[in-house]
Symmetry: C2
Subunit: 425 residues, 2 copies
């Protein structure tokens, strides 16, 4: 060190900027706003059973383990293979052959904003099948871009083919947006007819498949879907932080032929094509235009690898069986609970949503479950807060053991609130 | 299982949507597009010394370790403490008392887009101190929002107070955007005078401090900066995936009084205020409007905790000493290398950028370094590709051992390319 200090000291006060002639190496702490004592403490977290479907989702252990793999530079062959593997895994998840399949950095919500910003141009009309909170948010996203013409229905509604075709004929939208699994209302919107309608009437289908893919049957190509968006932490079982998406050639054509730029530069589809970070053209050089979240890439790759090894049918089966088993056991044990979504065909596979009688408040019950049992359930959104209880057995938690555990903690919980759990008569 | 199958089977074909009356539980794999064989293989990564400053950055071991902590639900007290701790840590990092300090999900680039989308309204003028690749990208971001009036200078230039004041007087901008550390050109732009100028002329300073904070002295409040944005993987030493930022009361006032909405809903400052996810108002209920990347939150908290425990002066010292030591040793050992940034006061602390004579090609050298030594360096951006070599000793790599190792691998590398390394005469 003695040999270098002569070099260091004269340079440092020049480099320090705004601190001319001030040798800050000799400063005491008095020149600095001190750190808060709270962050000097040890981090304190505890295991929680995540079955709310929204507030948090369990990550598959093999996906978490990938965080501990060595970090590499982004342009190495092993990393390019990971990029390709993620694309393979997503194509399998979505059941598509689209080469334009990738995952941006961000949450599912950012993915949805990004897709719409890329697809919608001034003058376009967007038809939204508004069936709950998530579609309502899309209405707001589109409003910030252009003027939408949403279809208005109460939360929990389902659209028929006839209704959608009527709206397409009269509103002539360029984009039809649907939420396949409206998790806030617990409802499943059948979408396989929308692709044909959109092909017939020259519009692009955009689909939120966040609570669907990996959980229940979905076929992007067979159903002629143009754009699908999801997140990483539900059916895939990877941590939050990437938004997977896939584009049909019809969608790519619309984005490539647009005459205005999207508002985003980072997530402009044409930037992705230009920099080729997702190897949309595998014959061109690989280049990135942002810092790659390499550890999140590893974990996403491992989540998709697990799904690919186990197989989609096995994953759909596991989610269907465990969630149906939980619903059946809860309804048998607690006769005062009722199905929130009355029509079985309108229920999402990956959600068990039950309504409470007026004398129970699910917000209090939720608090008891988290405080006494470290079990995180959902107690409704907006108008349903306090009136429903929502479980979601996803990924690592989609099994009978977790279902049985939940029935047992509910027994203790209802007893705690002095609610009878005698069998239905 | 026997007791539940009677329930499951009749429901499933209804739920499956588009597969009416098709019992997909009995499907063979022929109905499904199969997974690609590549993703069924084991993931294959190897340790790499990340000293490029851009292609990848080392994560501090204590930050990585946080990925393995138990996942919790987002509204629990322990998680709210983590949110508060991150804010404390960022305030210390930025040297500010701003309550409006937070970190969105995404990369630094998304942070910059988000800040501009929130701040700029139709009719505003944005003055960009364009001194390299990163500012050039901001010119494009602002163009996608409104029309900017950038100051044009060749990459690597530095702006004086007189120049900036002249531009402010003539262009009357609402926003002045500067890149404090232009890593692509290796230059440091002094910014402490910009705050006073902006206060005097009624404009808002927005500063990219990505390659600065945690690496060399920076004082948000003392220098009267209005908005700063960074990423998590340089001075903090946490994984990529969050974009920290802080807003002065002047910036908050501009965002709160705007009459139009930003293009983003997810990252609208007013959404953050409304949902209170970052507890911008600690007296109001805590609510989130997106899936929280809880594991990234843990790692960011731990990166900031390490910085808070060690202290900023220690971190600045470590970065200055190790990078200066590396520069000195490289210039001594390899007399054919020269400083790319000639003026010492214009050099960034966290970058060692050296130019090559014509007979050497740094792209070939970079390839040799990664293939033979697993060392990732940078070989320039745009016009400088192949002409420079750029090292960045950041975070866990900011020490003399890594510097010495790099000198040794460069000795082997130059010998491999038959370049003399005799002492300077």
């Amino acid at each position: 060190m003695a040999t270098t200090s002569a070099i260091i000291l004269p340079c440092l006060f020049l480099i320090a900027g705004g601190q001319n002639n001030h040798d800050w190496l000799s400063w005491g702490n008095e020149a600095i706003l001190p750190p808060h004592s709270s962050i000097l403490e040890k981090i304190d977290t505890k295991p929680t059973l995540l079955v709310s479907g929204g507030r948090g989702n369990p990550t598959q252990p093999s996906s978490i383990a990938a965080f501990n793999l060595p970090q590499m530079a982004i342009a190495e062959d092993a990393v390019i293979k990971i990029v390709e593997d993620i694309k393979h895994g997503l194509r399998y998840l979505f059941q598509t052959n689209n080469s334009n399949t990738l995952a941006i950095v961000g949450t599912g919500s950012l993915g949805i904003e990004t897709v719409l910003d890329n697809l919608v141009e001034p003058g376009d009309t967007v038809l939204i099948l508004l069936n709950g909170m998530w579609a309502d948010r899309v209405k707001e996203i589109v409003t910030r871009l252009r003027i939408p013409i949403p279809m208005m229905k109460p939360p929990g509604s389902i659209f028929t083919m006839e209704e959608v075709e009527l709206e397409i004929r009269s509103k002539k939208p360029k984009i039809v947006y649907a939420v396949n699994g409206e998790s806030s209302a617990g409802v499943f919107q059948k979408v396989d007819f929308i692709g044909d309608l959109c092909h017939k009437h020259g519009c692009i289908t955009v689909l939120d498949v966040i609570h669907i893919v990996g959980i229940q049957p979905f076929f992007m190509d067979k159903w002629k879907m143009d754009v699908v968006v999801c997140n990483t932490q539900k059916g895939i079982g990877a941590p939050v932080g990437k938004a997977p998406m896939s584009f049909s050639s019809r969608a790519v054509e619309k984005m490539t032929n647009r005459t205005t730029t999207p508002h985003t530069l980072l997530n402009d589809f044409q930037s992705w094509q230009k920099y080729n970070y997702w190897r949309l053209d595998a014959t061109r050089p690989y280049f990135t235009h942002h810092s790659v979240p390499i550890l999140l890439m590893y974990t996403l790759r491992e989540g998709l690898a697990l799904l690919s090894r186990d197989g989609l049918i096995s994953s759909w089966k596991k989610h269907a069986e465990s969630n149906l088993y939980l619903r059946k056991r809860l309804l048998e044990e607690f006769p005062f609970l009722t199905d929130t979504v009355t029509e079985p065909k309108n229920r999402l596979v990956g959600v068990v949503m039950l309504s409470f009688p007026n004398y129970l408040n699910s917000t209090e019950i939720r608090t008891h479950l988290i405080e006494k049992h470290n079990v995180d359930v959902n107690n409704g959104f907006g108008p349903s807060v306090g009136k429903v209880i929502r479980f979601a057995l996803l990924g690592a938690n989609a099994n009978f053991e977790v279902a049985d555990k939940l029935v047992n903690v509910m027994k203790e919980t209802f007893a705690h609130f002095n609610v009878s759990s005698s069998p239905k008569t």
